[in-house]
Symmetry: C2
Subunit: 287 residues, 2 copies
């Protein structure tokens, strides 16, 4: 019998002094790809877990909350999101959600690390099923280059990236908002993983301020994801349309439609409440 | 130099397979009281932490979210909460919040373990300051006995208890709702720590169903508290007044009032959104 093993998500840079751990039944795969350390484990309580560079990207138990919210918050704020770009998202979870939206006709996805895609197909079929839709066209490559070559091409761009907190990411973010802006059609909307204000409200505010330089409408929405640090994750959402009201979705689904699409987290009411922040956060993030 | 020490919150019964840990700079106090193990530590990232029977009760960094929500959700649903009973809450945090509400005239509190009160005064003055208000009358004793002796006495009863999940707690909960009902004045409202549906939606539903046997209006509200398992905590809220609309508070405070009261989490918008649940939870908890 093996001794009990825990995977502990320690990051002195991103969340010093705290740590979330999952009991591991079996390590399913481990490798160093060209870009990162990839680890896939079977956990006792959270199903299969994908870990990149020592950080939990998703667990089978609660990934739906993240994937639904990063997809449907921007999609439902857009009156007609026909062409969508996903940057990153190599596990397929965002693609799985985006294709559910009835207005979506084409999903272009650019993931830099093909090993994440291949391993997700093998070990995370509940997410990688997103790649099976005929709407999805996957390119292995650099999302930044792809956007430069596709100016004015997309209604919605979703960036499913690694954590934006940390000094190396600051420059990335400033140029990023300019780049995604150019890849959007008029009235386009972007959504990007935006960290948690419980960890570092100052950094979230800084990135929001970069975004405000390039977009007339900017906000920060929330989802509860228990296996992420602090149990919450935020999203930067910005629109080129100054009339966009993020709180009141342009497209509303009733409970029957929500259930038919197999949604387990997103509803129109959840959409509205995602933009209500605790008082300290509202004061820290807004001008 | 001491080696790095972590406190790990392991519970095979309440949250098997997962664990939250905090880096400990110094153990400030440890004892076995008549009722429980009490541990108070200085953490590296979360300030002072109170731990009872191995479970984190509150951290200096995020306790305000819990205290404000368990207090102001029920208080603001009541049109005139003059007399309030707090059961438990020996750290003083709930009392600190309850006395802020301008309608509150008397706060009766019953805590069984006087050592929690004494140690909180010594090590958690940012919470124990709640006991200093002239509105608060603290009794060391059994909350159940106290309620039996005070029938029809209170407008609002807040139970700041340990976790309700686990087999031993089931019977407790069924008799509990009958008891608090009798201690309420007509139209009275209760609020009680209600666990997280991310951990065990079936148990939350079961307890809600007990509550529905005794109260005409019952709901479950949410707060984000990063240092609790799953990062969220829920509350059972019930009213004897069948007209109570939990989502639309009877008492609304504007931002100026909120800031004057020193609130860091609660706002009227947060109140409204606290009752919006993810789709899977809404389906699991409602009849």
């Amino acid at each position: 019998m093996n001794p009990i093993q825990w995977f502990s998500e320690i990051s002195n840079e991103l969340w010093p002094g705290q740590c979330f751990s999952l009991k591991v039944q079996k390590v399913l795969h481990e490798e160093r790809s060209k870009y990162q350390d990839i680890k896939i484990v079977q956990s006792e309580s959270h199903g299969v877990v994908l870990i990149l560079d020592g950080i939990i990207q998703c667990t089978e138990r609660d990934e739906f909350a993240y994937q639904e919210m990063i997809s449907f918050l921007p999609l439902c704020c857009h009156p007609n999101p026909q062409r969508v770009l996903i940057v990153g998202g190599g596990d397929g979870g965002v693609a799985r959600e985006v294709v559910k939206h009835p207005a979506v006709q084409e999903v272009h996805q650019v993931e830099i690390d093909e090993r994440v895609v291949e391993l997700s197909k093998q070990y995370l079929p509940f997410m990688a099923c997103g790649f099976e839709s005929p709407k999805v066209r996957l390119t292995i490559g650099d999302g930044f280059e792809y956007m430069k070559q596709h100016e004015g091409a997309f209604d919605v761009i979703i960036t499913d990236s690694s954590d934006p907190i940390g000094p190396a990411e600051t420059l990335f973010r400033e140029s990023y908002f300019e780049l995604v802006k150019r890849a959007l059609k008029p009235g386009g909307i972007i959504c990007s993983q935006g960290g948690s204000f419980w960890l570092d409200a100052g950094h979230v505010r800084e990135t929001l301020d970069y975004c405000r330089k390039h977009f007339p409408r900017v906000t920060y929405g929330l989802a509860a994801v228990p296996s992420y640090p602090t149990g919450q994750i935020g999203f930067f959402i910005a629109s080129l349309n100054p009339e966009t009201d993020f709180r009141e979705p342009a497209r509303k689904f009733d409970d029957t439609e929500i259930d038919q699409m197999g949604m387990r987290y997103y509803t129109t009411d959840i959409h509205r409440s995602a933009f209500t922040l605790p008082r300290f956060a509202a004061k820290a993030l807004n001008p």
